[in-house]
Symmetry: C2
């Protein structure tokens, strides 16, 4: 089975006006998504931001949970943070995966917008992970979504998560959870 890697990107993103910006990292994104990644068996979770001060915050948070908090807990909740790597560029994540796997990952993006080109259905992603030996790097944006200069680099894009309402503003934390459950949840990879 191919290994699954998760990336959370903070640049280049769109803001509410459509400008290309660097978004702020939130500590909840590091923490929640690490737990989701661990639950669904991801090999690594890369938190990627060009801002040095924010990388330092992410590393301190990881240290707190993997070292201090763990000694107080009788659960293994802190283990999730061990999956976290903090990087400054997408390319470094690709390089790290390529080094670990000895092959380049397939870059699969997610978007709240419908994009017809390079569309990959959730079932196809599940099949890809089940059958192929190529690792998959599943990428999530922040703010108002990935800028075009980023999506143009991706091999495939999963369709937006749609509920039953026109409203489509899931938090990235919720979007990661639903996406991993669809791609790799119980009953789907047996």
């Amino acid at each position: 089975m191919g290994n699954l890697y998760i990336g959370l990107l903070h640049y280049p993103m769109r803001n509410r006006r459509g400008d290309v910006v660097t978004t702020s990292m939130t500590s909840m994104d590091v923490h929640d998504i690490a737990r989701t990644a661990k639950t669904f068996g991801a090999a690594r979770y890369y938190v990627i931001t060009p801002l040095k001060t924010q990388r330092e915050i992410a590393r301190r948070l990881r240290g707190y949970w993997t070292e201090q908090e763990r000694t107080r807990e009788n659960t293994n909740r802190g283990e999730a943070l061990e999956l976290v790597s903090v990087l400054d560029k997408l390319e470094e994540g690709i390089l790290d995966i390529s080094d670990r796997e000895e092959k380049e990952p397939l870059l699969v993006g997610t978007s709240a917008r419908h994009l017809d080109e390079r569309r990959m259905e959730y079932e196809e992603a599940t099949d890809q992970l089940r059958e192929e030996t190529k690792p998959m790097f599943l990428l999530f944006g922040t703010g108002w979504g990935m800028a075009d200069e980023l999506t143009s680099q991706l091999d495939y894009l999963l369709p937006p998560i749609e509920g039953i309402d026109e409203f489509n503003h899931l938090s990235v934390r919720a979007a990661v959870a639903v996406t991993l459950d669809r791609v790799r949840g119980s009953g789907r990879i047996n």
Copy 2:
């Protein structure tokens, strides 16, 4: 189709040692889960805590998003917070739903632990919502999960969300997203 209501409970919960406690509300739980509830078409999202100061915080947060922030936004993200009602007891939520619907809701809980009694599969919950006219009140715990005095009041319990790892510590924000997608996501209620 039966209406779906979401409840986030902060009492009676277990702490890491198994004692029955009131957990702290986090603003992210109000905000994220409102967006998830709106996306998947929930009729109402009840944030339930016996702590008056925390109810005030939840109400202020709702006011900020539904009034102030909305005027700055060109999206409808703030609409999600209009689903939020802040209550002190589960019974008040049941009463509110009963008043709106003119019938009592089915109480369906979620748990990270396996409980064999009164188990309802995700597909059964989907069918229940599709076919029955009875509303469903889907309840989520916080901390280390619902105390037995709470689960004993429920009609049904959904099984734990399992990924592919033994690790099973999704945040409640992630658990709500996965549960609503499974019960009511696109392609499941057509």
